[in-house]
C-alpha cells in the first residue's frame, strides 16, 4: 500500500509541474510545438529594443511573431517573422516597428500592400520603417532642429 502511494503522489506532482511548465512555455513563451505558418524576413535600420517573440499585426490583429533577430551584413537589423499560413503579403508591403501606447511593448506592424505579386515563403519585405525614437525626437525638439 505504501509503495503505491509514493508512486502516485510523485506522479501527480511531476505531472502538475510539467503541465505548469507546458502552459508557460507554449502559451506564454510561444514555443512552437507544431511549426505552422511560413517565414519572411525584413531588414530595419533600427528596431530599438524589439524582442524576439514580439507580435506581428495587420490592422491591429495579431498574425504572427518575430522569430529571430540578427545583425545583417549591412549593419542593419534582420528580423525573421513567422506568419500565419494563408496570410497573403504582397511585395509592396510595408513593415514598421511601433509601440503600443507611450510605454507599451514594441511590435511589428504590417501593411500587406496590394500589388499583383505575393511575397513567397522565405521572401523578403523591402519597405520597412524603423522605430520612432522618442528620445531623439525630444532632443531634436529641444535643440531646435524640428
Amino acid at each position: 500500500m505504501k509503495k503505491g502511494n509514493l508512486e502516485l503522489v510523485v506522479g501527480v506532482f511531476v505531472l502538475t509541474g510539467l503541465a505548469c511548465l507546458a502552459y508557460l512555455a507554449i502559451h506564454l513563451g510561444k514555443l512552437e510545438v507544431f511549426g505552422s505558418g511560413y517565414h519572411v524576413t525584413a531588414e530595419f535600420d533600427n528596431i530599438s529594443g524589439l524582442k524576439s517573440g514580439a507580435a506581428v499585426e495587420v490592422a491591429g490583429v495579431e498574425v504572427g511573431r518575430v522569430e529571430s533577430i540578427q545583425i545583417s551584413s549591412g549593419d542593419r537589423a534582420r528580423l525573421v517573422l513567422r506568419l500565419e499560413p494563408g496570410l497573403k503579403i504582397h511585395d509592396d508591403a510595408i513593415a514598421s516597428i511601433r509601440t503600443k501606447g507611450i510605454i507599451g511593448d514594441k511590435f511589428v506592424k504590417l501593411s500587406p500592400g496590394n500589388s499583383d505579386k505575393l511575397i513567397p515563403p522565405g521572401g523578403k519585405i523591402r519597405d520597412t520603417e524603423s522605430a520612432v525614437e522618442w528620445e531623439e525626437l525630444i532632443s531634436k525638439y529641444i535643440h531646435g532642429k524640428v
Binding site: 506532482f13 502538475t16 510539467l18 511548465l21 508557460l24 506564454l28 513563451g29 524576439s52 510605454i103 507599451g104
Partner: protein, 256 residues
C-alpha cells in the same frame, strides 16, 4: 595588525578550500548517477521529500506573491494610466525573478534543512559508515538521488509557483480591482518572450542544484554530535540563501 591579517588570510583560504571541496563533492555525486545500480526508487523518495513536501509552502507563497504584485502593480501603473500592463508586470516579475528565487528560498528552508539534518544524523549515528561497510557507496545511495531530485523538482516547483502566482494576481487584479480579464492575459502573452521562460528555467535548475548541494555537503561533513547537526542545518539555510541571491544576480546579468 599582523595577527588580524593572518586571521583574515586563514579565513579566505578555508573559504576557497571549502568551495573546492564542494565542487568535487558535486562532481562525485553527479558522476555516480551514471554508474549502476541506478536506484530509481530512491530517486522517487527524494522527489517526494524535496518536491511533494514543499508543494504546500510553495503554493501559499506563490499565491500571496502574485496577489501583492497585482496590488502594488495596479496602484503604480494607474498613475500612468497603464493598468492594461498589469498582466505583463505580474507575469514578468514572477517568471524572471520572484518564481525562481522565492521557490528556491522556500525549498531550502523546507527541504534543504531537512536534507542536512537527515544526512547529518546518518553521519553521527554511523549510518553512512554502515552503508560503506555493506559495500554500498553512501555518496551514491544517499547523496546522488537527492542531487538529481533537486535538479528535477525545483524547476517543476518553480513552474507551479509561476502559474499559481499568475492566478493570484488574476484574483486581485481582475476579480477585486476590475482590470478586464482579456487585458490581463493578453498583456501577459504579448510581453513574455521565450528568453524570459528559458531564463527562469535555467535559474531554477541552477538554484535547485545549489541548494541541494549545499544541504548534502553540510550534512555529509557534519561533526560533533547533535550540536553539529543543528549548526550544519543552520549553515545550510543561510549559505543557500546567500548563494541563491548571488547566483540570481549573475544569471540575471547573463539573460538581460
Amino acid at each position: 595588525m599582523d595577527n588580524l591579517l593572518r586571521l583574515w588570510g586563514r579565513w579566505v583560504l578555508s573559504l576557497v578550500q571549502d568551495a573546492g571541496r564542494m565542487i568535487l563533492f558535486l562532481f562525485e555525486g553527479l558522476g555516480l548517477a551514471f554508474v549502476p545500480p541506478f536506484r530509481g526508487r530512491r530517486f522517487l523518495q527524494e522527489i517526494q521529500l524535496i518536491g511533494v513536501k514543499s508543494c504546500l509552502i510553495v503554493l501559499l507563497t506563490a499565491a500571496f506573491t502574485g496577489m501583492v504584485l497585482a496590488l502594488q502593480g495596479y496602484y503604480t501603473l494607474r498613475k500612468y494610466g497603464s493598468e492594461g500592463a498589469l498582466g505583463s508586470a505580474v507575469a514578468l516579475s514572477l517568471i524572471r525573478e520572484m518564481g525562481p528565487v522565492l521557490t528556491a528560498l522556500m525549498v531550502s528552508a523546507r527541504a534543504g534543512s531537512a536534507v542536512t539534518a537527515e544526512i547529518g544524523i546518518m553521519r553521527i549515528t554511523e549510518q553512512l559508515d554502515a552503508l560503506d561497510t555493506m559495500a554500498v557507496n553512501p555518496m551514491q545511495y544517499v547523496v546522488m538521488p537527492k542531487l538529481i531530485a533537486g535538479l528535477v523538482a525545483v524547476p517543476l516547483l518553480t513552474a507551479i509557483f509561476d502559474v499559481t502566482g499568475i492566478l493570484g494576481g488574476y484574483l486581485i487584479g481582475v476579480v477585486l480591482l476590475g482590470v478586464s480579464s482579456g487585458t490581463y492575459f493578453s498583456g501577459m502573452v504579448q510581453s513574455v518572450v521565450p528568453l524570459d521562460i528559458n531564463g527562469g528555467i535555467v535559474k531554477s535548475l541552477v538554484f535547485g542544484l545549489t541548494i541541494i548541494l549545499v544541504a548534502c555537503y553540510k550534512g555529509y561533513y557534519t561533526e560533533h554530535g547533535a550540536e553539529g547537526v543543528s549548526r550544519a542545518t543552520n549553515q545550510t539555510v543561510v549559505l543557500s540563501a546567500i548563494l541563491v541571491l548571488a547566483w540570481d544576480y549573475v544569471l540575471t546579468s547573463f539573460f538581460m
